[in-house]
């Protein structure tokens, strides 16, 4: 059995993974990236609008912090927000120093434009393809530094010691298989493993996310004992193309694009959803407004609304938003220079995720997370546009440095089980947690402690799981199981949620779980077996769908992206806290951690949010 060894192993080659790898390398570590796609195929490349940073002398970073906290509907944690707004400025300038082709003002400085929820035009951009340029600029730095990349290797199980207490556990590496050959191998990280596996948008059918965004890192960390935080907080982007979910950047509205209903009303203003900011209200506000228009009969084809940018003029559009013209033509058959674009909300971003502190540390020693898979939490209940590319820079760099052994002092944000925490033993409509069949990720018995046996055990377990999937003779396809989950989530955990619907979705998820042991992989070849890969991903999707639905069921209030029909108020007394879901060795437990509105620098007052 092959065993690959490095100081730091980064799982995922998107923005967060690349940034973490460069940071760990600069801290002196021998680093490798392990990714199921070649790094330039990562979904960071699909980000369009831009990256927020308070670069202008008239724009103090504290304002960026406040906008972020307000955007989060006061569920973010203040220390994370402050660190983020302060450190992102150098990170964005560093990207420029790394050659990123930002759009420029006449004086040759980096251009910045208005974006939703921002009090200053703070979003630096490179056309409407900022993510593509950022991904490539950072990949270049990885190539320049000679950092090793294991591309098209799929990590399927973390190698974690089996201590009884999660806080005593240590991550030594993981098991992964080479997609090209089917070889299962062990990877040992002498210092740390950084999860940078992105979001879980594939839990939904109508999503802006790539097929690869199956939340693998979050699901693996969860099953190894790391709590998942605020999983109910899924951002629905208000402007996606109806037939495919392809994203139309918020930059269109930032540049002056307008939303219309079928009566030709500019409803954000005329129907009173956001009388100050209109189309540039926060994303959750705009998404709910659009679906309310549709529900009240003012939608187009009872499905979507219109986004019009024709009045901006061809010159400005082609200078700043050219990519949008191509996307609308290629994926919706609409020429936005001539006619408005149909748009509707689509699942876009996972605000919740792996519980981490401001250094990317999880409760498990040696295991870190950064980017969309993590939850530090700086997005709280709603992420501002332009803050995701920004987050992955700041917290990717921090996770890389911490994983390489930098002394992080005493973090302000706590992670791990809290004996004093408020707990809940809800009446779940289904049995949560472990799916029968296959070895569990961790069976606590304090026996596996040393690195090599821990990794060998993970490799053996994965080899067994894969071997068993390759000899099935009959059963249900991964595509059918996946569809079942996606349909239920799209129906009941979309923009508007209610108790009975969430319970229905959970029953469907439960049914999908029961089908999983009957999963049938028709392709018995070990050569580039994508059917096998997708089968393994499906388990991750199910575990995360369940976590999202549990969070949504528990949180009986409306805050940010999460809206409950019978609880349409934000309830600060009761709910200014994070939902935490611990796997608890197959028997999940829900508990709560208060959020932090006070940092060393400022205290945030949770005012009512209006735009």
């Amino acid at each position: 059995m092959a065993m690959y060894e490095h100081d730091v192993l980064v799982i995922g080659g998107g923005g967060a993974g690349l940034r973490a790898a460069v940071a760990a390398h600069e801290a002196g570590a021998d680093v490798a990236i392990v990714s199921k796609v070649h790094p330039v195929r990562s979904h960071t490349g699909a980000a369009e609008g831009g990256v927020n940073a308070a670069l202008h002398e008239d724009d103090p970073w504290e304002d960026h912090a406040y906008d972020t906290m307000k955007g989060s509907d006061f569920l973010a944690d203040a220390p994370a927000v402050d660190i983020f707004a302060r450190e992102i400025r150098e990170e964005v300038i560093q990207l420029e120093h790394w050659g990123m082709p930002f759009s420029r003002d006449d004086d040759g400085t980096v251009s910045q434009r208005p974006f939703g929820g921002l009090s200053f035009p703070r979003t630096a951009y490179a056309g409407a393809e900022t993510g593509h340029h950022m991904l490539h600029a950072m990949y270049q730095q990885v190539v320049k530094r000679g950092i090793d990349i294991y591309e098209e290797w799929y990590v399927t199980r973390l190698a974690v010691t089996d201590h009884d207490e999660v806080a005593d556990r240590q991550c030594h590496g993981f098991a992964a298989f080479d997609i090209a050959t089917g070889e299962v191998a062990g990877f040992r990280a002498r210092d740390g493993v950084v999860l940078a596996t992105g979001g879980a948008g594939q839990v939904f059918k109508h999503t802006t996310n790539a097929i690869a965004n199956t939340g693998d890192g979050a699901a693996m960390a969860y099953r190894a004992g790391v709590p998942l935080e605020d999983m109910e907080m899924i951002q629905f982007h208000p402007t996606t193309l109806p037939s495919t979910g392809v994203l139309i950047t918020e930059g269109v509205r930032g540049e002056g694009g307008r939303l219309f209903n079928s009566d030709g009303e500019r409803f954000m203003f005329e129907r009173g959803y956001a009388v100050e900011d209109g189309e540039l209200a926060s994303r959750d506000v705009v998404s709910r407004a659009e679906l309310t228009e549709v529900a009240e009969g003012r939608g187009v084809d009872d499905d979507h609304v219109y986004l019009d940018m024709r009045h901006l003029g061809e010159e400005r559009i082609m200078d700043r938003l050219e990519n949008i013209v191509h996307l609308a033509q290629d994926f919706e058959g609409v020429d936005p220079l001539e006619e408005p674009m149909p748009v509707k909300p689509g699942a876009h971003y996972t605000m919740g995720g792996i519980e981490i502190n401001e250094w990317g540390e999880t409760v498990i020693d040696g295991l870190y997370a950064a980017g969309e898979c993590g939850c530090v939490s700086m997005h709280g209940a709603n992420r501002l546009g332009g803050n995701s590319l920004a987050e992955l820079l700041v917290f990717g760099a921090r996770a890389g440095r911490a994983a390489a052994g930098e002394d992080v002092g005493t973090p302000e944000i706590q992670v791990g089980p809290d004996p004093d925490a408020e707990r809940e033993d809800p009446d779940w409509p289904i049995e949560p947690g472990e799916i029968s069949g296959g070895p569990p990720d961790v069976t606590p018995n304090d026996a596996l402690v040393d690195p090599v046996p821990v990794i060998n055990s993970a490799v053996e377990a994965e080899t067994e799981r894969i071997d068993s999937l390759l000899v099935t003779e009959d059963g249900v396809s991964q595509a059918a199981i996946r569809s079942r989950v996606q349909d239920a989530m799209g129906e009941h955990l979309n923009v508007f949620r209610e108790k009975s619907g969430i319970e229905t979705a959970l029953k469907e998820i439960g049914a999908a779980k029961r089908e999983l042991p009957n999963l049938h992989v028709t392709d018995t070849s070990r050569t580039f077996n994508t059917e096998l890969q997708h089968a393994l991903e499906t388990r991750n999707l199910i575990d995360l769908a369940e976590a999202i639905a549990f969070g949504a069921l528990a949180r009986e209030e409306s805050r940010g992206a999460h809206w409950r029909k019978a609880h349409q108020e934000r309830k600060d007394e009761e709910w200014r806290k994070h939902t935490m879901l611990s796997w608890n060795d197959g028997d999940p437990e829900m508990w709560y951690r208060p959020n932090i509105l006070e940092s060393e620098i400022q205290e945030y007052d949770p005012t009512e949010r209006s735009y």
Partner: protein, 275 residues
């Protein structure tokens, strides 16, 4: 086996690479009714006995308005034959995973409409790469060529302080803009007859990558000169015979041939090459 056996026949023929007019399909394949589309998809798997001899399978796929080749492939896989293998991820033309050889030319599956193509639509792996399985090719030679041009920003001078950007004129940013759009899909290099016959030729994608940095004023003059030398060496720009096939197939509309010619002109002006 899947339910699709009725629709699926392995045909003992080799790939018709570069063939404009694939062999006539089976007799039951007719003009599109607007309800289904017929795909002939290349199949190969070195491990599976029935697929060791490369051939084509025929799939009939129900269509919908706006259906792309990638949508059709996903439908074929998820509903008919789960072992059908191809790369894909973003579905929106930015990840560059699904460059394929479709009806005789290199295209991105996700950006190609089914309705625009003559049936049966023949889908093959990207030519001039070893086939790993079905539509998946080994891209190593492509990545090696990219690495050969030192594909990273590498300026002459250290940056100003940590909160000050380098200046770049709007004009210069405009000059490099199109070259920065490359998504590494490999369509251009696969389409280039010179690159396909001579492994050593850098090919259009790598030259464009070099051009992207060469033309960027922020790198500085010394580095630009080094870039020019790398690009005009024995296996560089001079091999290009201006057939424009790369420019024709580029899904990002990058003027690749123009960039190659620009490097030739500048190399000549810089007296790096005499004729």
């Amino acid at each position: 086996m899947s339910d699709s056996d009725a629709d699926r026949t392995i045909r003992p023929e080799t790939s018709g690479l570069n063939s404009e007019d694939p062999e006539e399909p089976e007799s039951d394949v007719t003009e599109s009714t607007g309800e289904t589309v017929t795909l002939r998809i290349f199949r190969y798997d070195p491990e599976v006995e029935s697929k060791q001899d490369a051939g084509f399978d025929t799939f009939r796929i129900p269509t919908h308005e706006g259906m792309t080749i990638l949508d059709a492939l996903i439908e074929a896989r998820d509903e008919q034959d789960p072992s059908l293998t191809f790369r894909h991820s973003c579905r929106q033309g930015v990840c560059g995973s699904d460059a394929l050889f479709i009806n005789g030319s290199q295209r991105l599956g996700c950006k190609t409409q089914v309705s625009e193509l003559k049936e049966p639509i023949q889908i093959e792996p990207l030519p001039h790469h070893p086939v790993v399985k079905d539509l998946v090719v080994d891209m190593d030679s492509f990545y090696e060529r990219m690495r050969a041009v030192e594909p990273y920003f590498d300026p002459d001078d250290p940056p100003p302080d940590e909160l000050t950007e380098r200046y770049q004129s709007r004009e210069n940013r405009e000059d490099v803009k199109l070259s920065t759009r490359c998504i590494w899909c490999g369509a251009c290099t696969s389409s280039c007859t010179i690159a396909s016959n001579e492994d050593v030729y850098l090919g259009p994608a790598a030259i464009n990558k070099g051009y992207r940095f060469y033309a960027d004023e922020r790198e500085g003059e010394d580095r630009a000169e080094e870039r020019l030398e790398i690009l005009q060496e024995h296996d560089g720009v001079w091999r290009c015979q201006t057939q424009f096939s790369c420019t024709n197939v580029c899904p990002q509309d990058i003027p690749l041939t123009e960039h190659i010619q620009q490097i030739k002109r500048d190399a000549t002006k810089a007296d790096l090459r005499f004729w």
